[in-house]
Amino acid sequence: MAVTRYALTSDPSVSVEVVSASLACCTLEVQAALNSGALIQVPESDAGPSVIVIAGTVTDALVPSVIELIHAHPGSKVMSFGACATSGGPYWDSPPVSKGIDQFVEVAAYVAGCPPRPDAFIQAIQELLSKRVS
């Protein structure tokens, strides 16, 4: 599981640790956002919050792993990236797909879209950071 610290290019004073759970196609948008130039990679440190990005379809079989991942990073915020993680998305009527990770864990930010655009990811990170700062 890739854990990397990023700061906003526009405001490098605040950084955020990004744990990306790559479950399905939404991951491509997260990768596009991380490499878009709006975020810069900064050295590892203990300061600043940690964000776990759940990007993709969470099947019932994957739920224990997702919960385990989130519990392995106590104090971190969960971002539900895309329709699948938020509500099951286009698979909402499929029996083996969970209807949103907020049934199992507390979610700090929901990002709409199937997939959401990369700038939606940046916007979500900004909102999570501003909440921390204020």
């Binding site: 329709a83 998305g89 286009p90 700090a108 929901y110 879209g113």
Partner: protein, 105 residues
């Protein structure tokens, strides 16, 4: 045009339900009632649908644009809103007012 938001132009909607039926994610819900409109010189009142509620659940929406394509009255359109990021899942259910095109408000 950015595919970042689907806006509803309320005046153009005739509550025909085509978007609701065609949406692959079934994320649109619509409610309406019918009234009689009597026009001068007409032989009988005309039936007109009145839109009561129109909701898009953006936690399900795929931004595929099928609803925009099938709408015969161009009541749905791509719009330049910012991407939707919320802290609450209920906030993703947008009604008539929130779905208004960005130029109108």
């Amino acid at each position: 045009m950015k595919h970042s938001f689907i806006a509803l132009i309320e005046d153009k909607c005739t509550s025909c339900m085509l978007c609701v039926r065609e949406c692959p994610a079934w994320c649109i819900s619509l409610d309406s009632h019918t009234i009689d409109v009597t026009e001068e010189g007409a032989r009988r009142p005309r039936k007109v649908n009145v839109l009561d509620s129109f909701e898009i659940d953006y936690s399900l929406c795929m931004y595929c644009g099928v609803c925009i394509d099938v709408c015969p009255f161009d009541a749905l359109a791509w719009d330049e809103h910012r991407a939707l990021v919320t802290t609450n899942r209920e906030d993703m259910l947008l009604g008539i007012v929130e779905l208004g095109p960005s130029g109108s408000s």
